[in-house]
Each structure stands twice: as C-alpha cells, then as structure tokens.
C-alpha cells in the first residue's frame, strides 16, 4: 500500500492505491481547509507534493507557477505511490501542531476480498439453483413418467435426491419437453430440512443466467444486492429509505400501525414497493431479466420480516413480547408483491427473538463469528443497535433502540450514506472552521451517519461541546455558531458552498439525538459484558456493522463514548453485514444452514427488564462517559488539542 507522509507534521498513513489525497490528509488528522465537499471548486485544499508521483486532474484554481512547484488540489488528486506532501500555511485552518513522527491507523470499510475472507471457502451450491439435464426419451421399453424421468436425471447428474414437484412445475413439463426435445432446466429449491422442490421447468439450458436478490430490510433503509450465482459476485447494489417511514420512524410506531389489518396491508405494500423499485433498478443496471430471478434472500429485523410477509407484529409490543414466528415458510415473490417470475422464491433469515432478527443472524454469519476462535463483540449500528458477544461456543445478544440518527434520519440536515453526503469532518479548534469531504466528492447535500459522528466528535474534541452535549458558551463568539429555530446550531456548510443552496447545520437537538443513540449502544455493550461477567478489555475483536459510508473513524467513535476504548487494531468495520450475510446465504446452502444454527445458538437478553440497563444508559449519556477513567484516550485527544491551541 502506498505510504503518504505529511510534513511538517511528520505523520504518515498507508492507503489504497487511488485514494483521494484530501481524504488521506483527513485520515492522517492533518488540518486542511476544504469547504466544497471535495468537488474541486473551492480550491482551498492546496498541497505540495515534494516527493513521489500522484495523478492530479488539472485545476484552473492553480497557476502555472504553482503547478510547476508541485502544487495540487488534494480533492482532485489520487495517490498512486509513496509520497511526501507538504501542507502550505495558506491551506491550514490553524497553526501546524508539532507532532512526533507517527503513524495513524484507520479502519476503512473492508474490501470485497476482505469481506469474503471472513467466512471459510465453501463449495456447496446455492440453495435455489437452475440445473440443466438431458433426459432420455421415453419409449415402449422405458415407459416411466416424465416426472420420474426428470427426478432420476437430477439425482444422477446433480445429486438432487427425492425431489418433489410443485403443481405449477408439473403443469409446465409437457410443453417444455415437447419444445426442447427433452433437454430441460429445472429450478431446484433446497430449503433447510425437507426434500428439495422443483418449482419450475424451462426448455433448454438456461443455467447461464442465474441471479438472486439479497435484501436487507432495515427500519430506516432498505438495501438490495443483485448476486450472480454463476460467478459468485455482487453485480449491482443500491439502497433507499424504507417507504414505511411515512407511517413512523421507529419500530414501535410501525408495530402499532401494523396492528390493524388496513395498516398491516399498507405497511406490506410500502416495503414491497421499496424493494420492487430497488430490484428493478439493479436488474436494469446489470441487464438481468426480472422474471428469471432465482430467489430473494431476505435479512430483516423481526418486525420488518413480519411486515414483509404480511404477518401482524402486534404481539411483540405486549408482555411477554413474543413474535408470531421465528422462521418463515418458503413462498414466492409474487405472493409478497415482489417482482420476479412465478417460481421466484423468497427465503428469509430466521429471527431468534422479538428484537433480534434475521439481520443480526446474517451479520454474525458475515462477520465469520462461527469460525473465529476468539471472543468477539459484534455491534450493528442502525435504528436499533444490536449487540452480540460471542465465541465459537456461545452467543449472547441484546438489542437497544438507538433511533434513526445513524442512518441520517431525524437529523435536520441528515441523509443516507449516498452521493453528496458529508462523511468526513475535521474541525479546527480555535476558529471552529470545518473541513468536509462528501461521498462521491461532490457539493455537500447533507450529513450521513459517519459524518454526524465525525462532526460531533470533532466539536467535542475541539472544546466546543460541553460534556452534556450542549455547545459551550464561548463558542457563541464564533461565526459558525448561531441561534436557530431549534436552539443553538453549528453551521457546517454555508449556503454558497452547499449543493442544496442553503446552509447545512448541526443543531443541539441533532447532537442530543446522537448522544442518546450512542448511549444506548454503549449501555447495551456494558450490560452484555456484565451478563457473562467479562471485562470488556478481554474482547479480542470488535466488528462494527452498519450502513455508513466508506469510513468510520473509530478513534472518533470511541471519543464519543459509543464503543469501549480498546486498541484500534482490534476493530473491524465490516459495513452492511446484514446484506452481506444474505448474499452469502444466496450463494451457498451451507451458509444458509449455518445461519439457522446461529439463530438456534443465540441467547437473548431482554434489556427492557434488565435492571442495569437504565443505569448504564444514564452514565453513557455524557461525553464520553460519566466515568471518565474508562476513556483515557478521549481525554488524551482533548489534551493534545489544548496543547496545540496554547502553542499556536
């Protein structure tokens, strides 16, 4: 990996080839001015490449003399090899701090290869797969019926034993064998437990087109991936807010809305419509025919899964909080209002408990916990924060309500982690001037979850926030802080720099939402550790999942007090693990079996009846925590800044 060293700080980071230079500077915690989100228009992030080569897009913001002297704009420059970069004084929001020669380590989103490497290589076939067979023609000596003939051929050639046929598939047989002269393809569905079923028969060899849809149905966001089952890769992927949001942003209001028949029907339609649009989009993108889709693999929390199947989740809300089902029957996409052919199947991840759903089962699978011989803490950060503490022998899990803040919802200028979302923020301590970078390097449109975490953590480390999350009185003199409709607010982007034409601000209410969310997560972790009497420092790996952007700055996450302070190299940021787990299940029947095993093994801790949860929550509702001794590094980071301020 190329190594980028910044001077005069003398800090270096190792990044992927092709990484954006401005982003690299942010990762290294080097102060650079940047107001346009990285689209090259503000021309403020000037840097001088003193050693090594970069790929830079020429900019009208730089004079010929500057270009000759090695000047580039960080945001339009890519790192291609080891380089040494000087940040000139005019690009700095404040004085250059004196720092010792040091490396900053990061936790970028795992690459596709790294994600795949977390689970063992597996040769088993997808649970729903088209199999091609050439049948012997019947004659007077061999007069077995067509179904037996097909069953035999499938067993002989593909080891599919005791296949059963659906009525629809049988009805197709005469036409198909006549058309294709006994060369046919059968869609074989091999569910967990029970005989494989043949649900469709097609003329000729259609096995060159085998696709499945993996779906993560979240309370706030829905994400789908189109999986090529022949090549074992994701060929297209996209996400959108769950349209059910219009009937309530949190799970409980959805449960209430879904308690009447009319509400249930509406919620089912809304989520099916959301998925439909996304599926049509990915299929169009990859030029895949929708009726030929093999199957859907759905991972969603228990309430979302119930709603997708049109099953009332009402009982979840009342003591003793039990759902209708934890496993869901095999059904077809058409029955759920999803696009596909008549035989396109829908398979769901099992939901072990009311507040512990298939998304977490899929996440634990994707994280490779069943195969990792170490104490692992898995944290899925979404509208509900689910936490699993596990090793290969046991799994204990809980779920806490974090609210939609991490997904950019319920935040004044929040948005999903999509193009234009501010995902990285650095704030200079003395002037409170921010440097921002957006997903896709375009003008900023709003703040996504990782940007929100970054921004609040930066404000806190810069001394602009009090420990209770209020803007400190001295910030009132900053031109970035003002009184808005909802109390005090921090102006992250001025209207002239934003893609929306108006200011992008962070309000005290937004900060409060984030504080509550992070407190719930930290409290959940504390309760689980207490349950199994484990000191949190014994955890060997922390896997963070969630629909954030490409980067989650773990040092910032810890400075907020959301996750326990542990050495940075113990953290892994896996991304949307629910979708990833559903993808694994689509590709391999072994993985689907393992998912069911995970669900059976999981012990669920109900936080609503946990005596300690509220207490932990209150102590976490502070920056970084009421017990400051548990966050020595956050204090160090604050002290560092203070030293810098005094020096400058």
């Amino acid at each position: 990996m190329p190594r980028v060293t910044f001077i005069p700080e003398d800090v270096f980071v190792d990044v992927q080839t092709g990484e954006n230079l401005l982003r690299t500077a942010m990762m290294a915690d080097v102060g650079v001015t940047a107001t346009c989100g990285g689209d090259g228009t503000c021309g403020k992030c000037r840097m001088i490449v003193e050693q090594g080569d970069v790929e830079a897009i020429p900019s009208s913001r730089l004079t010929d003399d500057q270009v000759a002297a090695g000047y580039v704009l960080g945001c339009t420059t890519q790192v291609v090899g080891d380089i040494v970069v000087r940040i000139p004084a005019e690009s700095r929001p404040g004085a250059a701090p004196a720092r010792a020669h040091s490396q900053r380590t990061l936790a970028p989103l795992l690459t596709i290869e790294e994600q795949a490497a977390r689970v063992p290589l597996d040769k088993s076939i997808p649970p729903v797969l088209r199999r091609y067979v050439e049948l012997p023609r019947p004659d007077l000596c061999d007069n077995a019926d067509s179904v037996s003939r097909l069953r035999q051929a499938l067993r002989r050639e593909h080891r599919v034993r005791d296949a059963t046929f659906t009525l629809e598939a049988m009805r197709e047989i005469p036409g198909v064998v006549a058309e294709a002269e006994w060369n046919v393809t059968a869609l074989v569905v091999d569910p967990i437990g029970g005989a494989p079923a043949i649900t469709r028969v097609e003329p000729g060899d259609t096995t060159d087109q085998q696709y499945a849809i993996a779906v993560d149905v979240g309370t706030t966001s829905v994400e789908v991936a189109l999986v090529d089952l022949n090549e074992n890769v994701i060929v297209a992927q996209c996400s959108e807010y769950n349209r059910q949001v219009k009937l309530g942003s949190d799970v409980i209001t959805r449960v209430i809305a879904g308690s009447t028949l009319a509400g249930l029907v509406e919620l089912q339609h809304l989520v099916a419509d959301t998925i439909t649009d996304l599926v049509l989009q990915v299929c169009a993108e990859a030029d895949v025919s929708v009726p030929d889709l093999n199957a859907y693999f759905v991972a969603g929390n228990t309430v979302m899964t119930h709603l997708l199947y049109g099953i009332s989740p009402a009982s979840i809300r009342f003591e003793p909080y039990v759902p209708v089902a934890s496993e869901f029957p095999l059904t077809t996409a058409r029955k759920l209002g999803l696009p596909g052919g008549p035989a396109t199947q829908v398979i769901s991840m099992p939901c072990p408990a009311s507040w512990l759903g298939g998304d977490i089962v899929a996440g634990v699978l994707a994280a490779g916990i069943p195969w990792a011989d170490r104490l692992t803490l898995f944290v899925d950060i979404g509208t509900n924060g689910e936490i699993v503490l596990a090793n290969t022998d046991w799994l204990i899990a809980c779920s806490c309500s974090a609210g939609p803040a991490f997904e950019g919802a319920g935040i004044q200028h929040g948005m999903r982690a999509a193009e234009g979302a501010i995902e990285q923020v650095r704030i200079e301590s003395t002037t409170l001037e921010p440097a921002i970078l957006t997903i896709g390097n375009v003008k900023p449109l709003g703040i996504c979850g990782s940007g929100l975490i970054d921004c609040v953590a930066e404000l806190f480390l810069a001394g602009a926030l009090e420990r209770n999350g209020h803007l400190a009185p001295h910030t009132a003199s900053s031109e970035r802080v003002r009184s808005g409709e909802r109390g005090m607010e921090y102006v992250l982007v001025h209207a002239e720099d934003s893609g929306t034409g108006s200011d992008i601000v962070l309000t005290e209410t937004d900060i409060e939402s984030l504080m509550r969310a992070k407190a719930a997560i930290h409290a959940g972790i504390s309760v689980l550790a207490e349950c199994v009497d484990i000191d949190i420092t014994q955890v060997e790996e922390v896997i963070v999942a969630g629909g954030f952007g490409h980067y989650l700055d773990l040092e910032r996450v810890m400075a907020l007090g959301m996750l326990p302070e542990l050495p940075l190299d113990r953290f892994t940021f896996i991304g949307n693990s629910s979708l990833l787990g559903a993808t694994h299940a689509a590709k391999s029947s072994e993985m689907l079996k393992t998912a069911h095993k995970i669900a059976e093994m999981m012990t669920y801790v109900e936080l609503s009846v946990s005596a300690g949860f509220m207490d932990h929550y209150m102590s976490s509702l502070f920056l970084p925590h009421t017990d400051l001794a548990r966050f020595p590094r956050a204090q160090q980071l604050i002290d560092q800044r203070v030293v810098i301020e005094e020096a400058s």
Binding site: R467, N468, D615, M618, S619, F622, T626
Partner: protein
C-alpha cells in the same frame, strides 16, 4: 489465633469542606468510611442539622410546627435566632419560597435583604435555597451571592439547566454551590463534572441527591445516596466525593402521615408525635445513607436527631 473482626478498607475519602465564615464556620465531611462505621476508619465530623427558615410566613403548615415556631414565622431573622439559640441548629437553611414566580414573585433584591438579615442575626453557616424555579433562582442567587460577598454561604439548588449562572456567581463571590439532581447517581456525578469544568473547585460543591420521605420512596433515595458514597469511598471516584446535603424537612412534612390532624384520622394517634417522628425517622435514615447536612424543620425532631447522632458517634 484470636478472632479478628474483618475490616473493609475504603480507598477514597469524602472531601472535608468548610461552610460559612468567621467564628461560626463549620467543617463537614472528611470521613473515609460509610456513615458511623467508626471501627473501619474515621469520621472526623458528625452530620449536622440545618434548620429551615422561610422568607415569608408559611401558610397551611401542620399544627405541631405552628405550635413550636408560630411566634417567629413573621420574621426570618427572629426565626433563625430561635433555631440557633433555643433549638441548637448547627446551620440555618433559608428557603426563599416567596421568590417563586408562581407565588409572591418577590424580587432578587428582597431575597438578598432577607438573607442578609438572617446572617446578621446568627453566626452559624447559612445555606440558601431558591424556590426551585430554574430561571428565577439564577437571578435570585446571583443577587444573594453579591450581597453575601463578606460571608461565604452555600446556595442552590443548582441544576443542569441553571448551573452556569449560579456557578459563575459562586465563583465571583466566593460561595459554595448545592448541586441538585433527581435521585440518580450518574446525573449527580455529571452535574459535578459540569460545574467543576467551569472552574469551581470541588471543595466548593455540596451534593443534593434529592430525597423522599419515609413512605414516599425513601428506599430509593437511600440506595442512590448510598451508591454515591460507595462510589466515592470504594472506587475513589473524585467527582462523587462531595459532602451530601439532604433537604428532607419539606418532604417529611408534606406527607399525609405527618400533617393529618388527629380528628381526621383518630386511629393514627397523636398528631404532634406522629409528625415529629416522621421527620426524625426520615432524617436518621438519610444520615445512615451518608448525608452530611440534614435540612429539618421541627425543633423536637432536631433534638431527637442530635441525640441519635451523638449516640452513634460514641458507639
């Protein structure tokens, strides 16, 4: 081998702080043991009683209180003097109830005058409580702090919503703040951190964790106070080592068991003893949970508590 009583050694100590000024100054706190656990460590200063004085004639108070103190109700200075000279109050707690915007809404200047008059009448340390109205208390306590610049007082309640102006006034005029939180260990600690961050030394913070009376959730307040002490002593938690004050007089006398006259509930027995015992039981419970200052009302319950504390300190 002879039997040795097991001794639990605490790693922390409650801060020893001086309340009041001049000859009447009193030192409280300083213990490195749970309350009255004399065999495990030392408790150099015994819990004290601050008797309440209201800035206006109280209305609707139960007869036992009127019988004992009715003659001085009209004059806070006389009331304070009676408490100290006749009833042995260690401190005086001035309750500025009339400043409440929903009551008489008296001005901060009037309140400052009342406090000054009380201070002139007695030498003992003065604690001043506002009405509990967040914004008004900030104004009132600022005026009081300024008027009392020559004689340090403790003032409150300071809450998360008004700690900034009140702490600023305490910093400027050399007073102690009383940090009040709603019966929650974490919130108590958080408020202490917030106040300390404004630059007020921890030696100038008194902790009021709030309380209920016997029969009104005192078990919960007891546990919270005790947990605060365990954190301070057992975990040496710096931000919980402030002495605790317990504003219990008003809670005890608000309960129907303390205030109902005997003709309304003949089976409950003599109203006078009932009221006095209700307050005294509440007070001794809170003393046992770790309170260093007990804010009380009735002279007879004060006498009982003094006797009980002396007994506990001797044993």
């Amino acid at each position: 081998m002879a039997f040795q009583e097991p001794i639990e050694k605490m790693s922390g100590r409650i801060r020893e702080i001086t309340v009041g000024g001049g000859d009447g100054a009193l030192v409280i706190g300083g213990e490195n043991v749970l309350p009255f656990y004399a065999w495990e460590g030392d408790m150099p200063n015994k819990p004290v009683v601050a008797m309440e004085v209201y800035d206006t004639t109280p209305e609707g108070w139960p007869q036992p209180l009127v019988d004992a103190l009715g003659e001085v109700f009209h004059d806070p200075a006389m009331w304070a003097r009676a408490c100290v000279e006749q009833h042995g109050a260690d401190m005086i707690c001035v309750q500025l109830a009339s400043t409440d915007p929903n009551a008489a809404d008296t001005s901060p200047e009037d309140a400052a005058g009342t406090v000054k008059a009380v201070a002139a009448a007695v030498d003992v340390p003065i604690i001043v409580y506002g009405s509990g109205s967040t914004d008004k208390d900030a104004e009132v306590l600022k005026a009081v702090a300024e008027a009392m610049v020559d004689r340090p007082i403790a003032m409150g309640p300071t809450t998360e919503d008004n700690f900034k102006p009140i702490t600023a006034a305490a910093l400027a005029y050399g007073h102690i703040v009383v940090a009040e939180t709603p019966i929650d260990v974490n919130m108590a600690k958080q408020l202490n951190i917030l106040i300390s961050q404004l630059g007020l030394p921890p030696e100038r913070i008194l902790l009021d964790p709030s309380t209920g009376a016997v029969g009104y959730g005192i078990e919960y307040s007891f546990t919270v106070s005790e947990r605060l002490r365990l954190a301070a002593l057992g975990q040496n938690d710096d931000m919980t080592q402030m002495p605790m004050i317990c504003n219990l007089g008003k809670e005890a006398w608000r309960s129907k068991e303390a205030k109902t006259p005997v003709d309304e509930e003949p089976t409950w027995g003599d109203a006078h003893n009932r009221g006095v015992l209700w307050e005294a039981t509440t007070a001794i419970t809170m003393a046992a949970s770790g309170a260093n200052v007990l804010v009380m009302r009735h002279p007879e319950s004060v006498a009982l508590i003094h006797k009980a504390i002396d007994g506990l300190m001797e044993s």
